[in-house]
């Protein structure tokens, strides 16, 4: 089971991309594409939203935690930087916690999340996509009790400033989107094999 969380939605537009698109539309498009690819590979998928609706951070984490998922991806898009940015919760890892606090549930899963980010980094690198990996404080993933990674897709170009020439290598480029989605799907399939016997932290 994989949870795909298309960030933003409803009145929360997210970032405004240079092609005039909104981040909420881009993340939903990536979620739909990724869901199809994963379903075709026999993986069950739960999404936090299927249309342009507002879903708050707690609700997103609730959906993920009820799904008892092997992997949870929070999908984002941005005009800054380049390539794909992978973020894992910056909570300090906690081993063997019996009770998980809501705001810091991810602490028990940080090591697994880092492993998942590593698998995704490898798959994206293999697909020729530049990747950076970092840690961040994002309420939606901090409350998720599953291996969780925030995926932010930026233009493929090596940019220095937001709004630098948006062309065929922008976030909305179909070939680029397809490569990113294929690489993420490949990483999740590989992760499924690895995670089959390690559901709990």
């Amino acid at each position: 089971m994989v949870v795909l969380d298309a960030a933003h939605g409803g009145s929360d537009d997210g970032a405004r991309l240079s092609n005039g698109q909104q981040e909420k539309a881009q993340t939903l498009a990536l979620s739909v594409r990724l869901r199809s690819l994963l379903a075709a590979r026999g993986m069950a998928v739960v999404t936090t939203r299927e249309s342009d609706i507002a879903v708050d951070a707690d609700r997103r984490a609730e959906i993920a935690n009820r799904a008892n998922a092997q992997a949870c991806l929070s999908l984002h898009a941005s005009e800054t930087g380049s390539g794909v940015h992978l973020f894992v919760s910056s909570l300090a890892p906690v081993q063997g916690a019996r009770v998980l606090a809501w705001n810091t549930a991810q602490a028990a899963w940080v090591q697994r999340s880092l492993s998942l980010a590593g698998a995704m980094n490898s798959a994206l690198g293999h697909a020729g996509v530049a990747v950076t990996v970092g840690r961040t404080a994002l309420p939606a993933i901090d409350s998720m009790a599953c291996p969780a990674v925030a995926v932010e897709v930026a233009p493929e170009r090596a940019s220095k400033a937001p709004g630098d020439g948006q062309g065929a290598d922008g976030v909305d480029d179909p070939d680029y989107q397809a490569r990113v989605a294929e690489a993420l799907a490949a990483a999740l399939v590989e992760w499924r094999q690895e995670a089959a016997g390690a559901r709990h932290p």
Partner: protein, 209 residues
């Protein structure tokens, strides 16, 4: 035909107006002279020349999601809160420059205030020597103009935390306000409601909401 009495009245009023105007002009000139005479233009306080000191900026780079330590020599105020504000202002000036590696508009004016608060309950040290919480009050204009994105917002927050700790080692935790009020995120992504550990430039585990 204008009656004679109206002509006389008009002439009297015109003359009165001219006289009043000249009297007012004279009064204004006299007042101006009095002000100039009363003003003491001699310097009474020597200007303070602050020695340039070493400042460390942790400058973010969007290209590789990294922070690079950059040392500068700056005249810094002695007051720790003013010093923190000056250092962060310099950091944000870098981000507002046209060739910035982490472009964010706003510059030094984005930092409204920095408050340093002793952390109560810190073990083993007197309150005045113990660790401090820095409360960084950003302007609403800075938050509104900040590019939206996980990477860019995270780098802004973490570079502020790391720069504060590098220059004021007693600052171990950082919280953020925008226009004096708590705010959920900087520009839709980075969490501004939690307490960040400046030592790790990351949020504290179990951070309070």
């Amino acid at each position: 035909m204008i009656p004679r009495y109206q002509t006389i009245l008009f002439v009297i009023l015109l003359v009165a107006s001219i006289i009043m105007g000249s009297v007012l002009w004279n009064l204004r000139e006299r007042a101006h002279q009095r002000l100039l005479q009363g003003e003491n233009s001699a310097p009474t306080q020597a200007p303070q020349v602050t020695q340039a000191e070493r400042a460390i900026l942790m400058v973010a780079n969007d290209a590789d999601n990294s922070m690079l330590e950059r040392m500068l020599s700056l005249p810094l105020p002695q007051n720790p809160e003013a010093r923190a504000r000056a250092v962060l202002g310099k950091l944000l000036d870098f981000y507002a420059a046209p060739d910035a590696t982490h472009p964010v508009p706003g510059g030094a004016n984005a930092i409204a205030e920095v408050f340093l608060v002793p952390i109560a309950g810190a073990q083993g040290k007197a309150l005045q020597d113990g660790p401090e919480l820095a409360v960084v009050n950003l302007t609403g204009a800075f938050a509104a103009g900040h590019p939206s994105g996980l990477e860019t917002e995270t780098l802004t927050v973490l570079s502020i935390c790391a720069t504060l700790h590098a220059n004021l080692p007693r600052v171990t935790e950082v919280r953020f306000l925008v226009d004096g009020q708590p705010r959920d995120t900087l520009a839709g992504h980075a969490d501004l409601r939690r307490t960040y550990l400046a030592t790790e430039a990351g949020p504290a585990e179990g951070a309070h909401q």
